[in-house]
Symmetry: C2
Subunit: 215 residues, 2 copies
């Protein structure tokens, strides 16, 4: 009984640390954050942090693992509808934009790591991310072979899909400035989704051409 309560409390603090660390790593990158920053933001001592996580790098690695779990969970839309490219693409774009909307810090932590050339997480990316992306590329290629869509370069199409959706998390501060708003709202994500879906479907789907999208 007691051991359960203790373990629950321990679990909670551990999750709090991970959440706060994620936010700070997103904002300032691995080298820009100290254990003391994280500890103070979570209301614990630096030494207590090191009781839960053996080192700063291990804490960062745990954060990145959590980020990847969330990221990949939003990315399985393509395989869910193996015979319907249009609906699969619509759901894929919607899902990736929802990730940017709901987990911007996850996106930023991952972006920081990739921009740095993934010095710490290269192995995990190669083992978990690349296979997922290549599977999606393969789905595009299979659609093309079966005549369900046009022949496009699935690899670069995939790059464009990440780029154009994740930018609404990673670059939200600058996009807000361009839109003249304090922060992005549901309407902005809806407009982004409409444009990206329209562009991709125009490019990927076979004729007959789709009607003009509403302005």
């Amino acid at each position: 009984m007691r051991s359960v309560k203790v373990s629950v409390a321990r679990e909670k603090l551990e999750q709090d640390i991970l959440a706060v660390a994620k936010r700070l790593f997103a904002q300032r990158g691995y080298g820009g954050v100290s254990l003391d920053h994280i500890a103070k933001a979570v209301g614990a001592s630096k030494q207590n942090l090191l009781y839960y996580f053996p080192s700063k790098e291990e804490l960062y690695r745990r954060v990145l693992h959590g980020v990847l779990d969330v990221w990949l969970s939003y990315m399985d839309a393509l395989s869910q509808r193996p015979d319907d490219p249009e609906q699969a693409i619509r759901e894929y774009i919607a899902g990736k934009l929802r990730f940017s909307r709901e987990h911007p810090d996850d996106s930023r932590v991952y972006a920081n790591e990739v921009i740095s050339g993934a010095p710490i997480f290269a192995t995990e990316i190669a083992e978990r991310v690349i296979p997922a992306l290549q599977a999606d590329v393969a789905i595009f290629n299979r659609w093309a072979e079966r005549g369900l869509c046009r022949q496009v370069d699935g690899r670069h199409l995939m790059v464009l899909l990440w780029a154009s959706t994740q930018v609404y998390a990673d670059w939200s501060s600058q996009i807000s400035l361009v839109l003249g708003k304090k922060e992005l709202g549901d309407d902005d994500f809806a407009a982004a989704e409409a444009l990206i879906v329209d562009m991709v479907l125009r490019t990927v789907l076979l004729a007959p051409q789709r009607p003009e999208a509403p302005v």
Copy 2:
């Protein structure tokens, strides 16, 4: 005479410091780089660095100013062809991809700053970048009003254009992994350009529809 030689040598070291600092800030972000790292990489002492630049933040600011100069110089394609949307868009995409190809570290330094919410460079971004972007959006809107292209949301189209071109600098490590290469080559940038141009023109240009792009 002597003062000229001295000033030239001074100028050269200053430029060397800025170049090395740019590379390191791109890789590890502002907080992940120390003056000592930069000094050692440039073959000078940390104290000598502080003779040329009054502080770390001022050095970083100078790097960012240089980055912005380069970035903006690649971005004036739209206004060069005010009556030809297709050619303007082609040149704009080509220019932005050339920037990613030729100045990846510039792109990464800027990306790092934006992801962090632009804590240091917010003012300069608001004064130099946002007006340039809004001018480009205005050009899109004018084309639409004059019936030269379809009504699209110029702001989100602009976001998509940055995102899909800068990703080839900022995310080059991961894109290389997906493509199964050590690093990106001219052919990869050409393939990216073909896809992005095709997608954007399909979306922006008026009917009659363009023929299928070559695979």
